[in-house]
Amino acid sequence: MVQEQAPQKVSIQFEDLHQQNESYIVGMWTFLVTEIMFFGGLFTTYLVYRMANQETFWEAHRHLSVPLGFFNTCVLLTSSLTMALTVHYAQRGLRKQQLLWLLATMALACTFLVVKGFEYHHKFVEGLIPGPNFRFEPVEHLRVAQLFFSLYFAMTGLHALHVLIGVLVMAILTVLIAINHPSVQDFIPVELTGLYWHFVDIVWIFLFPLLYLIPR
């Protein structure tokens, strides 16, 4: 079972490699807990308002494109697979395969952002951007529909920001791996990026049904 492992360095504050690796993993999970609580505040806000305004939220959500949302869900799920493969090859210290799957993940992430951009543009054309120019039919739903779209943009916007940060981190990783920089000679940076990426994925798994698939 023991594969050829990439060489790793131990920082001064740690006793050994095992302690260092475990510390980084625990640190990342703790960070993800803070992220869950961060999104949790938004999800709570959304759920409270949705419970209070079932009818209007249903009306408003029909302006979202389920096919595009579904497509993006597939894209992100696939990117989780490619990320898992990246981590797999990183643990074995295989640079070429790492690079290949990392680039694939980045391509999928960018696809997601582009599709999201088209969706936002569509909302803009329809006049569904909250603010003085917000238009919604029927007019008696306008206020609450605006609330729905405020939350839609806040939640998907924050998620898209996380995707963007993921892309930037992966871009940096790609460069470092390409020039065989010492800091990525161990697999931990890739492993941590992988954990983060799966988290970003899972957030979308909740966002998609909450926003796009509201039952009648």
Partner: protein, 553 residues
Amino acid sequence: MSVAVAKPGEIKHNYLNAGDTVRSWLLTTDHKRIAVLYLVSVTLFFAVGGLLALLIRLELLTPQGDLMTSENYNRVFTMHGVVMIFLFLIPAIPAVLGNFLVPLMVGARDLAFPRLNLASWYVYMAGGLIATWAMVNGGVDTGWTFYPPYSSSYSTSQVTLTIIGAFLVGFSSIFTGINFIVTIHKMRAPGLTWFRLPLFIWAHYATSVIIVLGTPVVAITLLLVAVERVFRLGIFDPALGGDPILFQHLFWFYSHPAVYIMILPAMGVISEVIACFSRKRVFGYHFVAFSSVAIAVVGFLVWGHHMFTTGQSVYAGMVFSLLSFLVAVPSAVKVFNWTATMYKGTIEFRAPMLYVMGFLGLFVIGGLTGLFLASLATDIHLQDTYFVVAHFHYIMVGGTIFGYLAGLHFWWPKMTGRMYPEGIAKLAALIIFAGFNLTFFPQFVLGYLGMPRRYHWYPEEWQMLHVMSSAGTALLGIGYILPIFYLLWSLRNGALAGPNPWGATGLEWKTDSPPITHNFEETPIVTEEPYAYENHHQQEEVASGTGASTTKG
């Protein structure tokens, strides 16, 4: 205990003289140096918040508003709250004492993520400076609670900037929290099991859990207020379709536990100091340890007691009231155990111990008056009065500052290698205790009589009590200024401390004062329970007395 005497002119290698350029301080990843950076910056912000408090109390000397307008008064008390809470009380003990001591106490060379630790200081400074900038540019008048729709739609003050400042400072404490959790989980020295950890570590662990779970929620909530303000997205403003009560729920979900972020580390300090100066192990170690965790857990379930008068459901109010009473249980467990620790101990009234005694008094008063406010019926009368102001100052300000000063004096020899002057330090402790009570006790009476908070006009018959309170502030000011002078004085002129001037247990006392950059010459191995003062006592007797060769382990 023998005290190592350094020969004159002999300078031992330590973290302070490891480099003296500005760069070596600003780019350091040494947790001890970062603690010193925090010590300086936290002290500066405390001075700012203190001056604002002084302005408030000056204004309240007379029943009329003669020093400032109502608008300016709103800004002054808001900024006093923002600075003191976000920039002093929350980071004070964890970021200064915790940063310095957590790695030392667990026998590690540094925190798990030294660069993240440095980043936390920079983020803290960025947040602090943005908040200060907002202050200079007109300040904020919403109260530190930022309640919408006033904060999001109506206030013309610098709400957005201040929120960005608070948001950043929140992230700095998240960084610290993550660092502590990982360090305590993964970097304990060989033999240092969970139940051999000092209670200071347990307290910081519980604090970190609250920071990690709570801070992100207030971060996103404040961010939403800022977004609502800037982009007119309707989220909390009822005119835009939102619900302001939801904001209060989300805000207090963090901001009530934030009180425990302030007080739990202080409780950790108390446990260390009280055991050392009573020469006894902490009574009921496991109970004190678990009560920290219990406070962290139950503290998350009581936020609704800030909202008894907002029209939240009566049943919710009853549950929140009951749960709030429940927090008194672990708090009382701690107080009883500390008292029992002193019982039949060999008590030494050093300055840190005086602060501990002060803490116990203030904490009991603050805690018990909290029960008045947790009761639905009495809270209707006392809500938003000076009774509340006095209560939270006793518990989170009195508690935290007394814990902080106790810890700062107790570990000052470790941090600097020098002793502080004992006599004047004791005097300062007494002045602060007297000043604190004179400032805030009259406020209980004022609140009970109906004086609302956040007003600077009041009926003339209350002037006497307000004058007492303001006089207390002056006394308090003197008490706070004294340590700044004598502690700075001691840096050059204090007696050399040696590794363990108090004869205390704990790994931090087993290394030099000040410690070397990587804390220990070799990784320590722990073989005994914490606070084994009695064992050491017996060992000394054995060594000095009868000449028996057996020692107790």
